[in-house]
Amino acid sequence: MRHIVEILNRFQPDTDAGRLLYTPADTGMTCRTTRRYAFQYTGRLDSLQDFVRTVLLDPISEDLHEAARPCLDEFAFYLDISLKPGLLDLEKEAVVQYVRDRQDADWTLETLSVGRRYYFLGTGLIGPEPFIRDMVNPVIHTWNVVHGTALV
């Protein structure tokens, strides 16, 4: 079974999207980052959900979004970036190791993918290409772009 969660920090201000580029530019857009986890698992979903709340979420500063659809509605596009399989993802490693060390769990983790989602907000002057060029290194990253309903 598959369970996808997205975690959004309530306190983190949006950044100027232009600062993400190598030639800092006025793009008219801001960027908001979320953490995204996709679990392939067997066993009890409520136990997995409990795990997410106690291990991955900081309830003081973060909101949990438990669904495959994006946690924001209005965006020009978003860019998902994660490390290629085979490369050491230290966060993923920490989560997987912790899951393995727990004996009491009544769910079993088959695979986990961890990634960052960058939402580009505002009526953008430019499309995703410059951001892909400057934020993604094809040697180590896999990425995906999805356009939203907001005007580009």
Partner: protein, 255 residues
């Protein structure tokens, strides 16, 4: 003969300020033991007087600062730390130690999150001493300098909480210039009992005046504020000693 109070340093994989923290405690008179997390027992904790969680990156802090250390500590020791506090023990968390104590719920509710600009920040800061009655802060002036070095040092809490902590006297230190955007500029907190104490800045890195960024710093002829920070706690735990005040000239220490 061995009546010096014992300080116990708890070292997680990734804890990396244990050397200078042990040096500071040793210099100020404590008997110091550093125990790796895997070798820790409730018994060892209950027999020390001051439990210290030094700075570093416990288990890498890859999920969030202090989370895995909190979970593993709860798993291994249950609420031993609460019992230790209740029997009169002091708990100090510096930097990552502060993050872990907050996650454990031993300090007022809140969280230490990434700085607003997403950067690590290593610099000296000025701090306001809100609890000059506390054994750690007793010998320090109203405004004190220490270095910070953290990426997740921004204290946040539920709306209104940070201000309430100030009113209740739970806030021990605030940034004079709020470098990381913390709520109510909070840099340090204590619990209701005063025996659990957490702070982002590093007192152990200001043991002598030679540590200060400015060779003409006017605060003390020999020592740094960090010395008095630990020394006054030593005096609290060992009342037979003569108190030292920062105005006294003292012999130069070897680092």
């Amino acid at each position: 003969m061995e009546k010096r109070p014992e300080a116990l340093l708890l070292k997680f994989p990734g804890t990396n300020c244990d050397v200078e923290t042990a040096r500071a405690l040793d210099t100020t008179g404590f008997r110091v033991r550093t125990i790796p997390f895997k070798g820790i027992s409730e018994e060892a904790i209950l027999q020390c007087r001051l439990l210290v969680l030094p700075g570093g990156f416990s288990y890498g802090d890859y999920i969030m600062a202090g989370r895995l250390a909190q979970l593993k500590l709860e798993q291994a020791l249950g609420d031993a730390l609460n019992r230790f506090r209740d029997q009169g023990g002091y708990i100090l968390g510096i930097c990552n130690g502060f993050q872990i104590l907050v996650k454990l719920g031993l300090l007022p509710s809140g969280s230490l999150i990434a700085h607003a600009d997403g950067r690590f920040r290593c610099q000296w800061v000025k701090l306001r001493n809100h609890r000059p009655d506390h054994p750690f802060l007793r010998a320090l002036p109203e405004v004190v300098e220490f270095p910070i070095a953290c990426a997740e040092g921004r204290f946040v809490a539920a709306p209104g909480d940070a201000e309430a902590y100030l009113d209740k006297g739970l806030v021990t230190l605030t940034y004079e210039d709020n470098v990381n955007g913390s709520s109510a500029a909070i840099a340090g907190l204590q619990d209701e009992s005063g025996r659990v104490f957490g702070m982002m800045p590093h007192p152990e890195r200001f043991l002598t005046r030679a540590h200060h960024v400015d060779p003409d710093w006017a605060g003390d002829p020999d020592r740094g504020w960090g010395y008095y920070f630990f020394r006054s706690m030593y005096e609290e735990l060992n009342p037979a000693t003569e108190p030292e005040k920062s105005t006294e000239s003292s012999q130069a220490m070897t680092l």
